[in-house]
């Protein structure tokens, strides 16, 4: 089949990337001894390095494959994702990055439990981290499945499952060998490669169409059955009252969820201080702006040159738009390069997620809940490594189950979970002095629980042709994305639970410390 290019070439480009990065990971992490090395790379990265790595966390399979595919298939509605992804960084920059860096060490649990009762809050924070990371990881693994299907022309579900398992194992290797430092370097290398790749493709496409975005979009409309209507809103979400609400709900989850993802939050600990954390977000914002401008060109370019129907029919569906476009303009070699970069993004992001999940379990649950803060650091890291393996196995299973879903959409569910469980709690704990343990638990579990329940009873799970279980129907919640309900609900839970529960005068000193540290950075370097 000509559209898959040359599987041997694709595989070898990818294998070279894996070998080089594994070598680098091995070299940089020869001294991964302390917990700080493993979880936070010894806080030794600069703002610029971490900024590129931060954007790397988002230049994932979901962004590169899912969003360019979303634009190629749905035009304007796909573009909404791009906008949300960029604007969301402002939440991280203005509200979260510095306060988090100043008050935590390794995990979200550090910040949330800072001035609360340690064990219940850490357990809650770890639960939220594990659930969110698991959803996000499934999305990445599903993306890997689609990509493999396209590249190696493996169309049987079993063959794809084996390849997803292989991807999962390589990513666990990165984490086990490299810890945070290795993972960050993989992230940096891949972000640079991906940015170069999309920028060159976009410039080439624009050049082909006389540097007119309008000309690309004009031709795109001719290769989409909706014609010019694909440039208007509604191609994916339609115009019923419910689908409009769904669109708004998705938009809200995007903008509030991105900076609340545990593996992104954890990145802020890899820099030495708050001003470097701030600089890293500034860097990330620039790279994201460039990247998402490029996805606009690439998405419409794929629609124009490949055509929506051909993309939908390809193995991997929507997710294959960018690789197909690469084949169209650069032949088998460019397809090989683009696919290798896309594979690399999946590996790097999943490694980051695995690290966040394992850190949360080892640092919050094992060291602080089970061992009550008296864990031996070496044992804690061993637990973290074991957890990484378990998380890897779970995500391989989940990825195989979700194989074939649009990855950007799956990610939006993870974002809704992150915004519901983490954002309200982090904001309250940093900026609202009265906030207490009861409020923390309610806002985490209220947000997480309501979000999960709504997902289970939404059309995503059952009752529709595109559901995960299309043959049964137990859906009663009409929206595909629960953010519109669950995010405000978690803010409300946290607020009400706090004002209806007792103040915690014994925590006053810790509260003062947190306020001073979060805002001024005094005492943060301890």
């Amino acid at each position: 089949m000509p559209t898959t290019g040359n599987p041997v070439l694709n595989l070898s480009v990818f294998a070279v990337f894996v070998l080089i990065t594994l070598y680098i990971v091995y070299r940089v992490s020869s001294r991964n001894v302390t917990a700080s090395d493993y979880y936070a790379a010894g806080s030794s990265f600069t703002g610029a390095q971490n900024g590129v790595a931060l954007s790397g966390d988002f230049l994932s399979a979901a962004s590169f494959l899912g969003i360019s595919g979303g634009i190629a298939a749905h035009g304007y509605d796909g573009f909404l994702y791009s906008v949300g992804w960029v604007v969301a960084w402002l939440v991280g920059l203005l509200l979260i990055a510095e306060g988090l860096r100043n008050t935590g060490r390794f995990t979200v649990g550090d910040v949330l439990a800072f001035r609360m009762k340690q064990r219940p809050v850490r357990a809650a924070a770890a639960n939220a981290t594990l659930v969110i990371s698991f959803f996000y990881m499934i999305a990445q693994m599903a993306g890997a499945g689609g990509l493999i299907a396209l590249l190696l022309n493996v169309t049987s579900k079993w063959g794809q499952a084996v390849l997803i398992a292989l991807v999962g194992m390589v990513m666990v290797l990165y984490v086990l060998i490299g810890g945070m430092k290795g993972t960050t370097w993989v992230q940096i290398i891949k972000a640079v490669l991906l940015l170069l790749c999309v920028t060159l493709m976009s410039v080439f496409l624009l050049g082909k169409f006389g540097f007119s975005l309008s000309a690309i979009m004009q031709q795109a409309t001719e290769n989409n059955q909706l014609g010019e209507a694909v440039l208007d809103p509604g191609a994916k979400y339609g115009f019923s009252a419910m689908s409009k609400l769904d669109f708004v709900s998705l938009a809200l989850s995007l903008v509030l969820g991105i900076a609340s993802l545990p593996h992104v939050l954890m990145r802020f600990y890899t820099v030495p201080n708050a001003s470097e954390a701030r600089r890293s977000v500034v860097w990330a914002t620039w790279t994201m702006v460039i990247f998402y401008l490029c996805t606009l060109v690439i998405g419409f370019g794929a629609m124009a040159l490949v055509g929506t129907d051909k993309i939908a029919a390809a193995p991997g569906g929507e997710n294959s738009a960018a690789p197909l476009l690469a084949f169209e303009i650069g032949g088998a070699v460019l397809l090989g390069v683009v696919s290798a970069v896309a594979f690399a993004t999946i590996l790097a992001v999943v490694a980051g997620l695995t690290l966040a999940a394992s850190a949360s379990f080892a640092h919050d649950v094992y060291a602080n809940v089970i061992k009550r803060g008296n864990a031996e650091p070496r044992r804690e890291i061993r637990v973290a490594r074991l957890t990484a393996v378990v998380v890897g196995v779970l995500s391989i299973i989940g990825g195989i189950a979700a194989n074939g879903q649009n990855v950007a959409f799956l990610v939006s569910l993870a974002l809704a979970l992150a915004a519901s469980a983490n954002l309200s709690t982090i904001l309250y704990t940093i900026f609202w002095r009265r906030f207490n343990t009861t409020g923390t638990l309610w806002s985490i579990y209220g947000g997480l629980g309501s979000c999960l329940v709504l997902i289970i009873f939404s059309p995503v799970m059952s009752g529709a042709r595109t559901s995960i279980f299309p043959d049964v129907d137990f859906a009663w919640f009409p929206l595909g994305n629960p953010g519109l309900v669950s995010i405000p609900f978690s803010f409300l839970c946290g607020f009400l639970a706090t004002i209806f529960s007792k103040r915690e005068p014994e925590m006053a000193a810790k509260a003062a410390e947190m306020e001073v540290r979060a805002i001024s950075g005094i005492g943060a370097r301890t």
Partner: protein, 148 residues
Amino acid sequence: MGAAHEGQGYMTKAIRSPGEAQHEYREIRGFASFDDPETLSYVDSDGTPNYELIRQTDEFRVLRRRLTTFIFPMTALFLASYLTFVLLSAYAKDFVSTKVIGVINLGILLGLGQFVTSIIITLGYARYAKRRLDPQRKLLAEKTGVEE
């Protein structure tokens, strides 16, 4: 820039004599901290900072006010602008479908406008933090004798 300096100068003066005196004050503390209970009290005997006291200093209050008066209005601003874009896309289809440049419609331009505002706010905050927040943090660290 000028205004920023004036503001800080004023705040310092309100608490104690101008810059040089403060510098001298700090010098002394290194040698004879026992004679200097006011400064000493920001750090407890075991070396941990007394956060409750630090929280009540004017320097900290100014810092907190400067921070919150920037980040909360800005957050409201960009959320409003983003939600306007989203709501227009969902509920004013004909309006955002208006063609502006070739087949590029108003909606796409509004979306790209979000990119521009994001850059502006990001750079604006970086600049504000450098000029109005970081110097104030330094002032606070100097007064309390507690470094980052």
